[in-house]
Protein backbone atom coordinates (compact mmCIF):
# COMPACT_ATOMS: atom_id res chain seq x y z
CA UNK A 1 0.00 0.00 0.00
CA UNK A 2 1.54 3.35 -0.98
CA UNK A 3 2.00 6.05 1.60
CA UNK A 4 -0.46 8.88 0.99
CA UNK A 5 -0.38 12.44 2.29
CA UNK A 6 -2.99 15.02 1.39
CA UNK A 7 -1.91 18.55 2.24
CA UNK A 8 -4.37 21.43 2.45
CA UNK A 9 -5.78 24.00 4.83
CA UNK A 10 -8.20 23.14 7.60
CA UNK A 11 -11.28 23.18 5.46
CA UNK A 12 -13.19 21.19 2.87
CA UNK A 13 -12.49 23.49 -0.05
CA UNK A 14 -10.51 21.94 -2.85
CA UNK A 15 -9.34 18.93 -0.85
CA UNK A 16 -12.61 17.44 0.30
CA UNK A 17 -13.24 15.37 -2.81
CA UNK A 18 -9.90 13.60 -2.25
CA UNK A 19 -10.80 13.01 1.39
CA UNK A 20 -14.19 11.58 0.43
CA UNK A 21 -12.51 9.25 -2.07
CA UNK A 22 -10.00 8.00 0.51
CA UNK A 23 -12.72 7.39 3.09
CA UNK A 24 -15.12 5.73 0.69
CA UNK A 25 -12.35 3.44 -0.51
CA UNK A 26 -11.28 2.75 3.06
CA UNK A 27 -7.69 3.72 2.30
CA UNK A 28 -5.68 5.34 5.07
CA UNK A 29 -3.91 8.63 4.43
CA UNK A 30 -2.27 11.44 6.34
CA UNK A 31 -4.85 14.26 6.33
CA UNK A 32 -2.50 17.22 6.78
CA UNK A 33 -4.25 20.51 7.52
CA UNK A 34 -1.99 23.54 7.62
CA UNK A 35 -2.69 26.49 9.91
CA UNK A 36 -1.37 29.61 8.21
CA UNK A 37 -1.77 31.59 11.44
CA UNK A 38 0.93 29.36 12.93
CA UNK A 39 3.22 29.80 9.93
CA UNK A 40 2.57 26.28 8.70
CA UNK A 41 1.73 27.83 5.35
CA UNK A 42 3.71 28.83 3.39
CA UNK A 43 6.18 27.20 5.82
CA UNK A 44 8.15 24.37 4.34
CA UNK A 45 5.36 23.11 2.16
CA UNK A 46 5.07 25.86 -0.44
CA UNK A 47 8.39 25.00 -2.05
CA UNK A 48 7.17 21.44 -2.53
CA UNK A 49 4.04 22.57 -4.37
CA UNK A 50 4.39 22.36 -8.17
CA UNK A 51 2.35 25.56 -8.59
CA UNK A 52 2.97 27.02 -5.16
CA UNK A 53 -0.59 26.17 -4.13
CA UNK A 54 -2.57 23.65 -2.14
CA UNK A 55 -3.90 21.02 -2.17
CA UNK A 56 -1.15 18.62 -3.08
CA UNK A 57 -1.22 14.85 -2.96
CA UNK A 58 2.00 13.07 -2.06
CA UNK A 59 2.25 9.39 -3.01
CA UNK A 60 5.38 7.64 -1.74
CA UNK A 61 7.09 11.01 -1.80
CA UNK A 62 6.04 11.97 -5.35
CA UNK A 63 3.95 15.11 -5.60
CA UNK A 64 0.79 15.84 -7.57
CA UNK A 65 -0.90 19.23 -7.66
CA UNK A 66 -4.29 20.39 -8.97
CA UNK A 67 -7.23 19.12 -6.97
CA UNK A 68 -9.10 17.44 -9.81
CA UNK A 69 -5.98 15.68 -11.11
CA UNK A 70 -5.30 14.36 -7.61
CA UNK A 71 -8.89 13.26 -7.07
CA UNK A 72 -9.03 11.53 -10.45
CA UNK A 73 -5.76 9.74 -9.71
CA UNK A 74 -7.21 8.40 -6.46
CA UNK A 75 -10.55 7.56 -8.03
CA UNK A 76 -8.77 5.46 -10.64
CA UNK A 77 -6.51 3.77 -8.11
CA UNK A 78 -9.53 2.81 -5.99
CA UNK A 79 -11.93 1.85 -8.81
CA UNK A 80 -14.21 4.82 -8.27
CA UNK A 81 -13.59 6.46 -11.65
CA UNK A 82 -16.04 4.55 -13.83
CA UNK A 83 -15.94 1.06 -15.31
CA UNK A 84 -15.24 1.89 -18.95
CA UNK A 85 -13.28 4.65 -20.64
CA UNK A 86 -16.58 6.20 -21.74
CA UNK A 87 -18.00 6.07 -18.21
CA UNK A 88 -14.78 7.64 -16.96
CA UNK A 89 -15.12 10.47 -19.46
CA UNK A 90 -18.76 11.02 -18.43
CA UNK A 91 -17.71 11.09 -14.77
CA UNK A 92 -15.01 13.64 -15.68
CA UNK A 93 -17.70 15.74 -17.31
CA UNK A 94 -19.77 15.85 -14.11
CA UNK A 95 -16.72 16.65 -12.01
CA UNK A 96 -15.88 19.59 -14.29
CA UNK A 97 -19.44 20.85 -13.92
CA UNK A 98 -19.17 20.70 -10.11
CA UNK A 99 -15.93 22.63 -10.37
CA UNK A 100 -17.75 25.28 -12.43
CA UNK A 101 -20.32 25.56 -9.63
CA UNK A 102 -17.49 25.88 -7.09
CA UNK A 103 -15.89 28.63 -9.16
CA UNK A 104 -19.17 30.55 -9.12
CA UNK A 105 -19.38 30.25 -5.33
CA UNK A 106 -15.81 31.48 -4.92
CA UNK A 107 -16.74 34.63 -6.86
CA UNK A 108 -18.91 35.86 -4.00
CA UNK A 109 -17.56 33.85 -1.08
CA UNK A 110 -14.45 36.01 -0.83
CA UNK A 111 -16.10 39.33 -1.75
CA UNK A 112 -15.28 41.84 0.95
CA UNK A 113 -17.89 44.41 0.08
CA UNK A 114 -20.92 43.11 2.00
CA UNK A 115 -23.47 44.73 -0.29
CA UNK A 116 -21.82 43.36 -3.40
CA UNK A 117 -21.48 39.97 -1.77
CA UNK A 118 -25.18 39.83 -1.00
CA UNK A 119 -26.01 40.84 -4.55
CA UNK A 120 -23.74 38.23 -6.13
CA UNK A 121 -24.96 35.53 -3.76
CA UNK A 122 -28.59 36.32 -4.52
CA UNK A 123 -27.96 36.14 -8.24
CA UNK A 124 -26.13 32.84 -7.82
CA UNK A 125 -28.94 31.17 -5.87
CA UNK A 126 -31.74 32.61 -7.99
CA UNK A 127 -30.19 32.19 -11.40
CA UNK A 128 -26.86 30.49 -11.88
CA UNK A 129 -27.28 27.59 -9.51
CA UNK A 130 -30.76 26.46 -10.65
CA UNK A 131 -29.47 26.45 -14.20
CA UNK A 132 -26.56 24.17 -13.28
CA UNK A 133 -28.69 21.92 -11.07
CA UNK A 134 -31.33 21.70 -13.77
CA UNK A 135 -28.81 20.30 -16.25
CA UNK A 136 -27.55 17.85 -13.64
CA UNK A 137 -31.10 16.72 -12.78
CA UNK A 138 -31.78 15.99 -16.48
CA UNK A 139 -28.55 14.10 -16.94
CA UNK A 140 -29.23 12.03 -13.86
CA UNK A 141 -32.71 11.23 -15.11
CA UNK A 142 -31.25 10.07 -18.43
CA UNK A 143 -29.31 7.41 -16.56
CA UNK A 144 -32.05 4.83 -16.16
CA UNK A 145 -34.60 7.15 -14.66
CA UNK A 146 -32.31 8.78 -12.13
CA UNK A 147 -32.73 6.73 -8.98
CA UNK A 148 -29.24 5.32 -9.24
CA UNK A 149 -26.06 7.18 -10.08
CA UNK A 150 -24.79 9.73 -12.60
CA UNK A 151 -22.67 7.20 -14.45
CA UNK A 152 -23.25 3.50 -14.85
CA UNK A 153 -24.80 1.54 -12.06
CA UNK A 154 -22.49 2.09 -9.15
CA UNK A 155 -20.99 4.88 -7.07
CA UNK A 156 -18.19 6.82 -8.71
CA UNK A 157 -16.36 9.96 -7.69
CA UNK A 158 -19.07 11.87 -9.59
CA UNK A 159 -21.53 10.79 -6.90
CA UNK A 160 -19.09 11.86 -4.21
CA UNK A 161 -18.80 15.14 -6.08
CA UNK A 162 -22.48 15.98 -5.76
CA UNK A 163 -22.40 15.10 -2.07
CA UNK A 164 -19.53 17.56 -1.78
CA UNK A 165 -21.54 20.23 -3.63
CA UNK A 166 -24.31 19.67 -1.07
CA UNK A 167 -21.88 20.75 1.64
CA UNK A 168 -20.52 23.59 -0.48
CA UNK A 169 -24.03 25.01 -0.72
CA UNK A 170 -24.48 25.00 3.04
CA UNK A 171 -25.29 21.40 3.86
CA UNK A 172 -29.07 21.74 3.67
CA UNK A 173 -31.72 20.42 1.31
CA UNK A 174 -32.97 23.89 0.41
CA UNK A 175 -30.88 24.58 -2.75
CA UNK A 176 -32.06 21.24 -4.15
CA UNK A 177 -35.76 21.80 -3.52
CA UNK A 178 -36.67 21.77 -7.19
CA UNK A 179 -34.28 18.94 -8.07
CA UNK A 180 -35.59 15.83 -6.32
CA UNK A 181 -33.48 13.23 -8.13
CA UNK A 182 -30.31 15.16 -7.43
CA UNK A 183 -31.20 15.61 -3.79
CA UNK A 184 -31.99 11.92 -3.44
CA UNK A 185 -28.63 11.01 -4.95
CA UNK A 186 -26.72 13.40 -2.69
CA UNK A 187 -28.45 11.85 0.31
CA UNK A 188 -27.93 8.31 -0.93
CA UNK A 189 -24.22 9.01 -1.23
CA UNK A 190 -24.08 10.63 2.21
CA UNK A 191 -25.77 7.54 3.63
CA UNK A 192 -23.20 5.18 2.11
CA UNK A 193 -21.78 3.56 5.27
CA UNK A 194 -18.17 4.67 4.71
CA UNK A 195 -19.22 8.20 3.77
CA UNK A 196 -21.66 8.47 6.67
CA UNK A 197 -19.02 7.36 9.14
CA UNK A 198 -16.61 9.98 7.81
CA UNK A 199 -19.24 12.74 7.88
CA UNK A 200 -19.98 11.97 11.52
CA UNK A 201 -16.43 12.45 12.65
CA UNK A 202 -14.93 15.01 10.30
CA UNK A 203 -13.84 18.40 11.58
CA UNK A 204 -16.46 21.12 11.33
CA UNK A 205 -14.91 23.94 9.33
CA UNK A 206 -16.05 27.24 7.94
CA UNK A 207 -15.28 26.34 4.32
Amino acid sequence: MPNYQLVYFNGRGRAELCRLIFHTAGVPFEDIRLDHTKGEWPGEWKAKCPFGQLPILVVDGKVLAQSRAAARYLAREFNLAGKTSWDQARADMFIDEFDDIGTEVVKFAFEKDEAKKAELSAKFYADTLPRHLGYLENLLKENNGGDGYFVGDSLTWAGLGIANVYDLLGGTDAPFAKFPLLLALAKRVRENPKVAEYLKTRAQTSF
Binding site: P50, F51, G52, V59, K62, L64, A65, Q66, R68, A69, A70, R72, Y73, R76, E77, S85, W86, Q88, A89, R90, D92, M93, I95, D96, E97, D100, T103, R131, H132, Y135, L139
Partner: protein, 229 residues
Protein backbone atom coordinates in the same frame (compact mmCIF):
# COMPACT_ATOMS: atom_id res chain seq x y z
CA UNK B 1 -13.43 3.13 -36.16
CA UNK B 2 -16.09 5.13 -34.31
CA UNK B 3 -17.78 8.08 -35.97
CA UNK B 4 -16.64 11.31 -34.34
CA UNK B 5 -18.21 14.75 -34.44
CA UNK B 6 -16.82 17.78 -32.68
CA UNK B 7 -19.24 20.66 -32.35
CA UNK B 8 -17.99 24.09 -31.38
CA UNK B 9 -17.83 27.68 -32.53
CA UNK B 10 -15.85 28.62 -35.58
CA UNK B 11 -12.90 29.36 -33.32
CA UNK B 12 -9.99 27.63 -31.65
CA UNK B 13 -11.04 28.46 -28.11
CA UNK B 14 -12.08 25.46 -26.04
CA UNK B 15 -12.30 23.16 -29.04
CA UNK B 16 -8.80 23.34 -30.39
CA UNK B 17 -7.13 20.81 -28.11
CA UNK B 18 -9.54 18.15 -29.36
CA UNK B 19 -8.86 19.16 -32.97
CA UNK B 20 -5.10 18.90 -32.39
CA UNK B 21 -5.58 15.41 -30.94
CA UNK B 22 -7.55 14.28 -33.99
CA UNK B 23 -4.87 15.79 -36.23
CA UNK B 24 -1.93 14.11 -34.51
CA UNK B 25 -3.74 10.78 -34.32
CA UNK B 26 -4.75 11.05 -37.97
CA UNK B 27 -8.32 10.17 -37.04
CA UNK B 28 -11.09 11.60 -39.20
CA UNK B 29 -13.92 13.53 -37.60
CA UNK B 30 -16.61 15.99 -38.56
CA UNK B 31 -15.36 19.43 -37.49
CA UNK B 32 -18.68 21.22 -37.05
CA UNK B 33 -18.27 24.97 -36.58
CA UNK B 34 -21.10 27.17 -35.43
CA UNK B 35 -20.97 30.87 -36.24
CA UNK B 36 -21.50 32.96 -33.16
CA UNK B 37 -24.44 34.75 -34.70
CA UNK B 38 -26.33 31.50 -35.11
CA UNK B 39 -25.90 30.35 -31.51
CA UNK B 40 -27.93 29.07 -29.80
CA UNK B 41 -29.03 26.64 -32.46
CA UNK B 42 -30.43 23.10 -32.54
CA UNK B 43 -27.31 21.76 -30.84
CA UNK B 44 -27.97 23.61 -27.62
CA UNK B 45 -30.74 21.21 -26.62
CA UNK B 46 -28.37 18.25 -26.75
CA UNK B 47 -25.55 19.98 -24.88
CA UNK B 48 -25.45 18.41 -21.41
CA UNK B 49 -24.73 21.80 -19.81
CA UNK B 50 -26.06 24.01 -22.55
CA UNK B 51 -22.60 24.81 -23.84
CA UNK B 52 -20.15 23.74 -26.50
CA UNK B 53 -17.78 22.06 -27.24
CA UNK B 54 -19.60 18.81 -27.65
CA UNK B 55 -18.09 15.50 -28.73
CA UNK B 56 -20.33 12.92 -30.34
CA UNK B 57 -18.95 9.38 -30.55
CA UNK B 58 -21.25 7.02 -32.45
CA UNK B 59 -24.10 9.25 -31.35
CA UNK B 60 -23.16 9.32 -27.64
CA UNK B 61 -22.46 12.72 -26.19
CA UNK B 62 -19.71 14.18 -24.06
CA UNK B 63 -19.37 17.75 -22.85
CA UNK B 64 -16.68 19.76 -21.02
CA UNK B 65 -13.58 20.50 -23.06
CA UNK B 66 -11.02 18.77 -20.84
CA UNK B 67 -13.16 15.65 -20.41
CA UNK B 68 -13.41 15.54 -24.21
CA UNK B 69 -9.68 16.04 -24.76
CA UNK B 70 -8.77 13.50 -22.10
CA UNK B 71 -11.12 10.90 -23.61
CA UNK B 72 -9.62 11.36 -27.07
CA UNK B 73 -6.07 11.34 -25.70
CA UNK B 74 -6.80 8.05 -23.93
CA UNK B 75 -8.33 6.55 -27.06
CA UNK B 76 -5.40 7.69 -29.21
CA UNK B 77 -2.64 6.64 -26.82
CA UNK B 78 -1.51 10.15 -25.95
CA UNK B 79 -2.48 10.16 -22.29
CA UNK B 80 0.58 8.82 -20.50
CA UNK B 81 1.67 5.28 -19.80
CA UNK B 82 0.20 4.77 -16.33
CA UNK B 83 -2.18 6.37 -13.85
CA UNK B 84 0.59 8.52 -12.35
CA UNK B 85 1.61 9.98 -15.73
CA UNK B 86 -2.04 10.51 -16.61
CA UNK B 87 -2.41 12.48 -13.39
CA UNK B 88 0.71 14.56 -14.04
CA UNK B 89 -0.67 15.38 -17.49
CA UNK B 90 -4.01 16.37 -15.96
CA UNK B 91 -2.07 18.60 -13.56
CA UNK B 92 -0.31 20.43 -16.40
CA UNK B 93 -3.49 20.84 -18.41
CA UNK B 94 -5.49 22.08 -15.39
CA UNK B 95 -2.85 24.72 -14.72
CA UNK B 96 -3.71 26.32 -18.05
CA UNK B 97 -7.26 26.54 -16.77
CA UNK B 98 -5.87 28.65 -13.93
CA UNK B 99 -4.00 30.82 -16.44
CA UNK B 100 -7.22 31.35 -18.38
CA UNK B 101 -9.02 32.39 -15.20
CA UNK B 102 -6.33 35.02 -14.59
CA UNK B 103 -6.56 36.08 -18.22
CA UNK B 104 -10.27 36.76 -17.87
CA UNK B 105 -9.71 39.39 -15.19
CA UNK B 106 -9.05 42.34 -17.53
CA UNK B 107 -12.02 41.29 -19.66
CA UNK B 108 -14.48 40.94 -16.83
CA UNK B 109 -14.02 44.51 -15.68
CA UNK B 110 -17.55 45.62 -14.90
CA UNK B 111 -16.92 49.34 -14.52
CA UNK B 112 -18.83 50.80 -17.48
CA UNK B 113 -16.13 53.40 -17.95
CA UNK B 114 -13.68 50.61 -18.57
CA UNK B 115 -16.02 48.23 -20.35
CA UNK B 116 -14.61 46.41 -23.29
CA UNK B 117 -15.59 47.43 -26.79
CA UNK B 118 -14.93 44.91 -29.45
CA UNK B 119 -15.92 43.39 -32.72
CA UNK B 120 -17.09 39.83 -32.15
CA UNK B 121 -17.85 38.27 -28.83
CA UNK B 122 -16.52 34.99 -27.57
CA UNK B 123 -19.30 33.36 -25.65
CA UNK B 124 -18.14 31.16 -22.85
CA UNK B 125 -15.00 33.18 -22.36
CA UNK B 126 -17.02 36.11 -21.00
CA UNK B 127 -15.14 38.65 -23.02
CA UNK B 128 -15.14 40.35 -26.37
CA UNK B 129 -12.36 40.29 -28.87
CA UNK B 130 -11.59 42.67 -31.63
CA UNK B 131 -8.55 43.85 -33.42
CA UNK B 132 -8.00 46.64 -30.95
CA UNK B 133 -9.29 44.86 -27.85
CA UNK B 134 -6.08 45.36 -25.94
CA UNK B 135 -6.36 49.09 -26.20
CA UNK B 136 -9.81 49.17 -24.73
CA UNK B 137 -9.06 46.93 -21.74
CA UNK B 138 -7.91 48.50 -18.56
CA UNK B 139 -4.20 48.77 -19.12
CA UNK B 140 -3.28 48.15 -15.51
CA UNK B 141 -5.10 44.83 -15.41
CA UNK B 142 -3.47 43.68 -18.63
CA UNK B 143 -0.08 44.68 -17.24
CA UNK B 144 -0.79 42.71 -14.09
CA UNK B 145 -1.60 39.60 -16.07
CA UNK B 146 1.29 39.90 -18.49
CA UNK B 147 3.82 41.13 -15.95
CA UNK B 148 2.89 39.15 -12.87
CA UNK B 149 0.37 36.36 -12.90
CA UNK B 150 1.33 34.84 -16.24
CA UNK B 151 5.10 34.69 -15.69
CA UNK B 152 4.51 33.23 -12.24
CA UNK B 153 2.46 30.36 -13.62
CA UNK B 154 4.74 29.84 -16.63
CA UNK B 155 7.70 29.74 -14.26
CA UNK B 156 6.19 26.77 -12.47
CA UNK B 157 5.55 25.02 -15.78
CA UNK B 158 9.11 25.72 -16.94
CA UNK B 159 10.35 23.97 -13.77
CA UNK B 160 8.07 21.00 -14.29
CA UNK B 161 9.41 20.68 -17.82
CA UNK B 162 13.00 21.02 -16.63
CA UNK B 163 12.49 18.34 -13.99
CA UNK B 164 11.45 15.95 -16.73
CA UNK B 165 14.89 14.90 -17.86
CA UNK B 166 16.21 18.39 -18.46
CA UNK B 167 13.29 19.73 -20.48
CA UNK B 168 14.42 18.98 -24.03
CA UNK B 169 11.76 16.34 -24.56
CA UNK B 170 8.16 16.32 -23.42
CA UNK B 171 6.52 17.81 -20.39
CA UNK B 172 5.37 14.45 -18.98
CA UNK B 173 6.98 11.09 -19.68
CA UNK B 174 9.02 10.38 -22.74
CA UNK B 175 6.56 10.72 -25.56
CA UNK B 176 4.04 13.23 -26.89
CA UNK B 177 0.94 13.59 -24.77
CA UNK B 178 -1.99 15.97 -24.76
CA UNK B 179 -0.14 18.01 -22.12
CA UNK B 180 2.42 18.97 -24.77
CA UNK B 181 -0.39 19.82 -27.19
CA UNK B 182 -1.96 21.93 -24.44
CA UNK B 183 1.27 23.87 -23.95
CA UNK B 184 1.64 24.50 -27.67
CA UNK B 185 -2.02 25.46 -28.03
CA UNK B 186 -1.79 28.00 -25.22
CA UNK B 187 0.50 30.25 -27.23
CA UNK B 188 -2.35 31.03 -29.61
CA UNK B 189 -4.58 32.44 -26.90
CA UNK B 190 -1.83 33.98 -24.77
CA UNK B 191 -0.79 35.96 -27.83
CA UNK B 192 -4.06 37.85 -27.44
CA UNK B 193 -2.49 39.45 -24.36
CA UNK B 194 1.20 39.71 -25.25
CA UNK B 195 3.15 39.10 -28.44
CA UNK B 196 5.66 36.54 -27.17
CA UNK B 197 4.28 34.80 -24.08
CA UNK B 198 7.13 32.28 -23.68
CA UNK B 199 9.89 34.78 -24.34
CA UNK B 200 11.51 34.28 -20.95
CA UNK B 201 10.81 30.56 -20.73
CA UNK B 202 13.22 28.88 -23.14
CA UNK B 203 12.32 25.28 -22.32
CA UNK B 204 8.59 25.91 -22.82
CA UNK B 205 9.36 27.81 -26.02
CA UNK B 206 11.46 24.90 -27.21
CA UNK B 207 8.65 22.46 -26.50
CA UNK B 208 6.17 24.61 -28.39
CA UNK B 209 8.53 24.70 -31.36
CA UNK B 210 9.00 20.93 -31.32
CA UNK B 211 5.25 20.32 -31.13
CA UNK B 212 4.42 22.75 -33.91
CA UNK B 213 6.99 21.06 -36.13
CA UNK B 214 5.33 17.64 -35.83
CA UNK B 215 4.15 17.08 -39.42
CA UNK B 216 0.50 16.45 -38.53
CA UNK B 217 0.43 19.51 -36.26
CA UNK B 218 2.12 21.73 -38.84
CA UNK B 219 -0.28 20.50 -41.51
CA UNK B 220 -3.31 21.19 -39.33
CA UNK B 221 -2.12 24.66 -38.35
CA UNK B 222 -1.57 25.46 -42.02
CA UNK B 223 -5.00 24.33 -43.11
CA UNK B 224 -7.26 25.26 -40.17
CA UNK B 225 -9.56 28.24 -40.58
CA UNK B 226 -8.00 31.50 -39.46
CA UNK B 227 -9.99 32.84 -36.55
CA UNK B 228 -9.35 35.65 -34.09
CA UNK B 229 -9.70 33.37 -31.07
Amino acid sequence: MPTYKLIYFNARGYGELARLLFAVAGVPYEDIRVERASWPNEYKAICPFGQMPLLEVDGKILAQSSAIARYLAMEFGMAGKDNWEQARIDMVVDSFGDILQDMRVPYLETDPEKKVQGADGFPGWGWRSGSDHRITLQEALVKQFVGESLPKRLGYLENILKENGGGQGFIVGDSLTWADLGVANSVDYLKLMCPNPFENFPLLAGLVQRVREIPQVAAWIAKRPETAT
